[in-house]
């Protein structure tokens, strides 16, 4: 069934839901939320996607975006925060939206700014080839200083040397933008992380980070522990620091936003909740005893560690296992599949091996556990710990062959231990967390992503290497030789489609 046909058929159902009174439904409407236009941001914004619809809950009520710092270009390239954090895409940015925007503006939208919306700033602008990573995988260029810099801005002595093996974008060897430039820079390419449900990203469950073997760092301003789950490489650990990083790099702002602008952005970011709210087969995700959608995220406590017996993750959908029959057999079948997926997520054990951040911290390799071992924070499925792990999305030999991405050769220095599973020489498409810490063991570790609103923001993984939710399951199935049955793959995929 095509999306348009389904949406038209399901429209009546959606408008009958209790929350519909305050929601603005964008069925069939324009997906792009404009910046610098002054459109009102409703309390609830609901947009269709291939799996159903996602809702962004602007919890404190409608906002006039005219002059609102989140929706106003603050720098020189015409971009606002909202450019890459769209309500239709659960406050992230899908490659479908990027492609639509390219077509609508012939590549002139500030989204495609050379600084990071092109494969490299030196390439001729306005040509698809120059923006191919953004258009095909939704990847923005992230320029990281080399050598890495510590919290105080001073260079860190990295435990490894770094060489460029493959440079398809031309950026890492470029005289002005590359490693040999006056401002030595490593260019890696990553998806934007959604600006929603941030209280969960910032939540701290325990004071000790077992992956680093140290307590969490503290915010020098507040003295509070910092979660480490905010960015792909944990280069900024608080929202104010992330804001500073973003406005200077992605928005190309010279100087600083005013204190009022900073407050407006931070306040907004912390009161936005996004999740899938309707499914094309299952119906409203709050029906039949289920508790999907963004409202539950606003109300629930963040930082809670799941427990397989007492408080399993995704228990929101377990009522679909036993609740009264749904409207029709097809709906019932889908709901039962989601409930099975929720159970599998917690209970389906498999051997996890060779993954730094999981196996190298004392648990051993292999370790017998389920998806919920790492995706353990109730409501969002990030890691309480925090979640810098190497699942093989960027490190050879597990990474998906990606000749369009750079490849680096990292050699661990003789005076440090080699990488726990990959030896002294590691080939990687993105050194990830190691570009923040300079540690050999951190090569290719990437911070875990929130699992909410997934259906609205394909593709997946930090480097966009999984095009669909099903592909995520299949990648894990291969990586850890789980031997999932077709039905188990369907169930886990269906679960992820309703988050």
């Amino acid at each position: 069934m095509g999306l348009t046909r389904w949406w038209s058929a399901a429209g009546g159902l959606l408008l009958c839901t209790a929350a519909a009174a305050q929601a603005v439904d964008y069925a069939g409407g324009e997906r792009w939320f404009p910046v610098n236009e002054g459109r009102q941001l409703a309390k609830e914004l609901r947009y269709p996607n291939d799996a159903g619809a996602a809702t962004t809950l602007n919890a404190k009520g409608p906002i006039d975006t005219k002059g609102h710092a989140f929706f106003t270009p603050l720098g020189g390239n015409g971009r606002a925060c909202a450019t890459c954090h769209q309500p239709a895409d659960a406050m992230g940015l899908s490659v479908a939206t990027i492609r639509e925007r390219w077509n609508a503006t012939k590549g002139q939208d500030p989204l495609f700014a050379p600084v990071d919306g092109a494969n490299c700033p030196h390439l001729p602008q306005g040509q698809e080839a120059s923006h191919s990573l953004l258009l095909s995988r939704g990847l923005f260029r992230i320029a990281r200083p080399w050598p890495p810099r510590g919290d105080d801005g001073k260079p860190i002595k990295a435990e490894f040397s770094l060489e460029v093996v493959r440079d398809p974008t031309g950026c890492n060897l470029h005289a002005q933008h590359g490693l040999k430039s006056d401002n030595p820079t490593v260019s890696v390419y990553r998806r934007p992380r959604p600006v929603a449900n941030l209280k969960y990203m910032l939540a701290v469950g325990f004071p000790f980070d077992p992956k680093n073997g140290l307590p969490l760092k503290r915010d020098p301003l507040t003295g509070e522990y910092m979660s480490g789950n905010l960015l792909s490489d944990a280069r900024a650990l608080t929202l104010p620091l992330q804001l500073q990083d973003a406005v200077r790099s992605h928005l190309q702002m010279n100087g600083n936003p005013t204190p009022e602008q900073v407050k407006q952005i931070l306040d907004f970011e912390q009161q936005v909740f996004s999740a899938q709210s309707h499914d094309k087969w299952g119906g409203p995700l709050t029906d039949g005893g289920a508790m999907g959608g963004p409202e539950v995220l606003e109300k629930s406590r963040a930082g809670v560690l799941q427990n397989a017996q007492r408080n399993p993750i995704w228990k929101e959908f377990l009522p679909w296992k036993t609740s009264a029959p749904a409207a029709n057999a097809e709906q019932q079948k889908f709901r039962e599949s989601v409930a099975r997926g929720a159970e599998l997520f917690v209970k389906r054990m498999f051997l996890i091996s060779g993954s730094t951040g999981i196996n190298s911290m004392g648990f051993g390799s292999p370790v017998l556990n389920s998806c919920a071992m790492c995706h353990n924070m109730v409501n969002v499925g990030i890691d309480v710990a925090p979640g810098q792990v190497d699942l093989g999305t960027t490190n050879e030999p597990w990474a998906k062959p990606s000749p369009e991405l750079p490849l680096f050769k990292l050699t661990c220095n003789a005076n440090v231990k080699p990488h726990p599973f990959l030896g002294r020489v590691v080939y990687t498409q993105d050194p990830g967390y190691a570009l923040t810490t300079g540690r050999c063991e951190d090569i290719g570790k990437i911070t875990m992503q929130s699992m909410r609103g997934l259906a609205a923001r394909a593709p997946y993984f930090a480097n966009g290497s999984a095009k669909t939710l099903r592909e995520i399951v299949e990648i894990y199935n291969r990586r850890y030789q789980i031997r999932l049955s077709e039905q188990e793959i369907d169930d886990l995929t269906n679960l992820m489609s309703v988050l």
Binding site: P207, F208, P210, P215, G362, P366, L368
Partner: protein, 255 residues
């Protein structure tokens, strides 16, 4: 006089007991075997054969678990714990992951019962649980953190509660000085025909890692004093794991 005789007798018994335990202490290098379990969680069975005696031991109680495909140094004492993995249970036991590769061995459960998932005794509570501060009177106290051979890594569910307890005492007593002393076994130990010696640099690294942990937990930086030394005396109360106790950091909180 009668009392003195009795004390002497008890002391002699303790020494004899320690000597017996010490004689049972095993140290060997071997390739770990992971035995899968039917319904275990986190903690499948970890086995290792002491090739010199052909005895197979269960080392699953170690705070740090082995990596399949890498040699491990095993130190422990055979116990009477029920064998549910296919090997005599070592308890206490500590394994250290070595750099040398070996065949990666993962075998099925083969009918052995599951290794139940049991939380270790020293697990830090979530931040949502209020901490109880130590109450006066305050006295100088030492906290010991044992490390794996050739490692400065603070292993999860093994030492973090000790670090927190030292921090809470330092905070409650407004400690004037928190002395962090790192030790490394520079004299070394013999295992399976090889000598395993640590460097003095490792003692320093252990001390600095622990000091950083204490700082992050909330110990005032200006009270911290970091020291290190080689060839330390073992900790008497760690018997029979005397020699592993040389690989430690001792935190002295001085109110």
């Amino acid at each position: 006089m009668k009392t003195n005789t009795f004390l002497f007798f008890v002391a002699a018994l303790l020494v004899a007991d320690a000597a017996t335990a010490q004689s049972d202490f095993r140290r060997f290098v071997t390739c770990p075997i992971y035995r899968d379990t039917d319904a275990g969680r986190k903690s499948g069975c970890w086995l290792g054969t002491q090739v010199e005696t052909s005895e197979r031991f269960d080392v699953s109680n170690s705070p740090d678990k082995p990596l399949a495909g890498r040699l491990m140094l095993v130190e422990g004492v055979p116990s009477n714990e029920k064998d549910i993995c296919g090997g005599v249970v070592l308890q206490p036991v500590r394994i250290s992951v070595l750099q040398e590769p070996c065949p990666e061995v993962i075998i099925p459960a083969e009918g052995w019962p599951s290794k139940p998932s049991v939380l270790p005794p020293l697990v830090i509570a979530p931040l949502s649980v209020p901490r109880k501060l130590p109450q006066p009177p305050f006295e100088e106290k030492q906290f010991h953190l044992i490390f794996d051979y050739d490692s400065d890594f603070l292993v999860y569910q093994s030492v973090e509660l000790t670090i927190e307890n030292a921090t809470l005492l330092a905070q409650a007593s407004k400690a004037k000085r928190v002395i962090v002393t790192g030790y490394a076994d520079t004299q070394g130990v013999e295992a399976s025909g090889r000598v395993y010696k640590e460097t003095l640099a490792l003692a320093k690294a252990r001390a600095e890692m622990t000091a950083e942990a204490l700082r992050r937990m909330g110990v005032r930086a200006d009270t911290l004093q970091v020291k290190w030394q080689g060839n330390p005396a073992p900790l008497a109360h760690e018997a029979p794991m005397h020699e592993p106790s040389k690989r430690r950091v001792t935190v002295t909180v001085r109110p």
